[in-house]
């Protein structure tokens, strides 16, 4: 597409097309959007992050999509969010107020090697594409690779499983890049990692049944966000801590971010329950992104209005 106005948001796109979209968006909005390359994947692809900012030294809100490569509706939603942010800035009072106070970071393809592999070789590929010495099986589950209960129950030590945790915490460059970025930034106040497809909004912890000190506040905010999401199309969501709502999962992204002091740490599971799984038809991309944006907005606004 020659511009982000003619870009087709209602279909799934390849990695190159998404990168091209990112560059076009930056070129069209030089005073609002910039691209940061926070690292390289195992196979050398750039880990691109969009930064939406109107000032300097601001606290920030992070959103990532596509850490599990086969969850295509998440990358597609990420593209839609990026355009939505530039469209709404200056016209929507709430988003404008947000960007006058907070920066937003958006990593659309968090696991680029896996995403390319899911387009070229195996549509159901979930993990990264790192080699595992001593095994013919490839890849690590990047959502079990974080230093939060790493190696505990709910992750696997077998490289041939989908929940293989990797040889060490942060062994995956895709994970390490975010770790370094978050630590280096030092002022990220909200963090949302987006998955699909079981319709949930979850918060820490996943590796332990202990409640976080902020459990009640996180639960209340999740309820508000889910109500906003449901208001659009009636999509039913569950919410709660990861371990109580799904199952024990060690080494997860938002457990690590919470333990780093990012209080408003959440993870989404987008639609669709019980019909298509990871093969959600492209016709549902925009409705999914629209309803998710309503919930995201609540999380971002709350983070903006409740500094800590």
């Amino acid at each position: 597409a020659r511009s982000t106005n003619s870009f087709n948001y209602a279909i799934y796109h390849t990695f190159d097309e998404i990168n091209s979209f990112i560059d076009t968006l930056v070129a069209e909005n030089p005073n609002l959007v910039s691209k940061i390359v926070i690292g390289k994947s195992t196979e050398g692809r750039p880990l691109n992050v969009l930064k939406f900012s109107t000032g300097s030294n601001r606290p920030a809100f992070w959103i990532d999509t596509g850490i599990h490569s086969r969850e295509w509706v998440t990358q597609a939603s990420g593209v839609w969010f990026a355009k939505k942010i530039v469209q709404d800035y200056g016209t929507d009072p709430s988003l404008t107020a947000t960007l006058n106070k907070l920066d937003i970071y958006l990593e659309i393809v968090t696991n680029p090697d896996g995403y390319v592999f899911s387009h070229t070789s195996n549509r159901m590929w979930r993990k990264t594409r790192s080699a595992n010495p001593g095994s013919t099986c490839v890849g690590t589950d990047p959502n079990r690779n974080w230093d939060a209960g790493f190696g505990g129950p709910g992750s696997s030590s077998n490289p041939c499983t989908e929940t293989y945790r990797g040889r060490a915490a942060h062994s995956e460059p895709e994970v390490k890049a975010i770790v370094d970025f978050v630590k280096g930034h030092g002022n990220i106040k909200g963090f949302v990692s987006i998955h699909s497809y079981s319709q949930m909004l979850l918060f820490p912890y996943g590796y332990t049944s202990a409640l976080t000190p902020d459990h009640q506040e996180l639960n209340n905010l999740a309820r508000v966000a889910v109500n906003a999401l449901t208001s659009l199309y009636g999509t039913v969501y569950e919410y709660g801590s990861i371990i109580t709502t799904i199952y024990q999962a060690s080494g997860g992204t938002v457990d690590w971010t919470y333990n780093q002091g990012i209080k408003y740490s959440y993870t989404f599971e987008l639609r669709d329950t019980g019909r298509y799984g990871f093969a959600l038809p492209a016709s549902q991309i925009i409705p999914t992104a629209q309803e998710t944006w309503l919930a995201l907005t609540k999380l971002i606004e709350y983070t903006r209005d409740n500094p800590y």
């Binding site: 279909i11 159901m124 038809p281």
Partner: protein
Amino acid sequence: MENFGGQQVLRILPENEEQVTLVRDLENLEHLQLDFWQSPRAAEKPIDIRVPFPSLQAVKVYLESNNIPYSIMIKDLQNLLDEEQSSMKAARAMDN
């Protein structure tokens, strides 16, 4: 591209914790090559498993012999992925 012809995704709805455990046991049977799209959680919470064609009969027999309710969520995964590909191609052609 890997072909998923004949593969199905089963949606299992365990009625009690015993059935949850029985489904969880399937996770350890590596030779079945099952892909848990949604892992076992609790009774009456859905579990979705992508089942390769050669394992379909064994898994269905296992579920039926233990009276574990299930339905076929995706009858042929490859059909769905073929539709996805055609819709991508058609949309690109229109864009061009």
